[in-house]
Amino acid sequence: MVNRKTAKFLSFRYTILAIIFVVLAGGLVLLPKYEKHEGINPEELLSNSVSPERYISTDALANKIISQDPSFILIDVRGEDEFSKYSLPNAINIPLKNLLDEDSLMYLNQNQYDVVLFSNDNFYADQAWILGNRLSFQNLKVLKGGINNWYKTIINPPIPTETMPAQEFDLYTFRKSASMFFGVVYPEQIKEVKKPVVKKVIPKKVIPIKKKKKMPVEGGC
């Protein structure tokens, strides 16, 4: 049996509950504020960005472009003027400072395609990658060495000297034919009278990730 004292105390029960509410709500106002933690942990970000996993080599990329692999999009993070001078085929230009604009997020924050970021070197592309990784964008890649390396290896591959191993020659043959694909013409090529094939490009549609929370809700009392 509940004794009289507790009964008296409990007659104030609604007042007590009301006070608890006010205290809790007041606590919210008084709590020290801090900047919201956005994105993944710094520790995780560091270990992701230190690892070289994100790099894709120029050879692998050239192979993908030539074989018309449909599973990736190229994003050029350089400025517009450099983009208009030369860029990889079918690249989309998103200058680094526009990286987090709503229109760019359409390309970056999706899980349909691999996104290969590149710039002249991989300096800016890495910065873009790290920002993207913090916001946990999926499937971002960086072209190792960027356009400069692209030039050095694919467009103008160094001719191996006689003493080099056979793999080097294979690699050179691949790179040379790749460079032909990208428009470079070699003197001996003319004899065969071959028109470089200009590939028709099928534009890719990027569908932004559907958020799971968009479920229709039934609700109510």
């Binding site: 009301a18 809790l24 709500a25 919210l28 799971k212 929370k213 968009k214």
Partner: protein, 196 residues
């Protein structure tokens, strides 16, 4: 960590099962607290029973304060929560229609189903009315569509549209709620007691 399902703590497939469990529990609580009685529900409009007001206000407060605390401490990411989109005039007109129905019949859609479950005849009539309303609405959808889909304000919250700090908003809301509870108690004491 949270919300649990979008972050993969609970697999997505459990969604419906959890919904059913919560629904059963919700219905049980509604019935247990007497909300399947239309007289209790209508009491809030006639001033002899404010249980509905108190229960729903308290539920909103507990959820609001709890979510804000969990968000603050990092247990829950508030940005991932679903915010109901606002279609301004659709909401206003729908609210008025629903309110009239509430006063007239003494049920809101959720409690009416509870009452059907315990076999109340007025609730059965009410539910048939709901079905008829849904039917009319669907048939005349093309007519209503401009209001239904128009005046879209986005997924906004009161805090966004008023531009107040959300913690202050929670605090002020709590004060308003408690004042409302006290006031409703006073009104109830003045109104003639009705036994039902």
């Amino acid at each position: 960590m949270g919300p649990l399902i979008p972050n993969g703590v609970i697999p997505y497939e459990w969604n419906n099962i959890i919904a059913i469990l919560i629904g059963i529990f919700f219905g049980f609580i509604l019935e247990a607290s007497g909300f399947s009685s239309s007289r209790k529900l209508a009491g809030v409009f006639y001033g002899y029973d404010f249980a509905v007001l108190k229960v729903f206000f308290t539920a909103a407060l507990v959820a609001l304060i709890g979510i804000l605390y969990m968000d603050y401490l990092g247990y829950l990411n508030m940005e991932q929560l679903y915010i109901h989109p606002t279609y301004l005039w659709g909401a206003i007109i729908g609210g008025v229609v629903m309110g009239v129905g509430f006063v007239a019949a003494g049920f809101c859609p959720g409690t009416s189903l509870c009452a059907v479950a315990i076999g109340k005849i007025d609730a059965i009539v009410y539910v048939i009315g709901i079905m008829a309303g849904i039917f009319i609405f669907s048939e005349l959808y093309t007519l209503f569509e401009p209001i239904y889909n128009g005046y879209f304000e986005g997924n906004i919250t009161l805090m966004d549209s008023l531009g107040v700090n959300r913690y202050w908003f929670a605090f002020i809301f709590t004060i308003i709620a408690i004042v409302a509870f006290a006031a409703s108690d006073m009104i109830r004491k003045r109104v003639k007691k009705i036994f039902y």
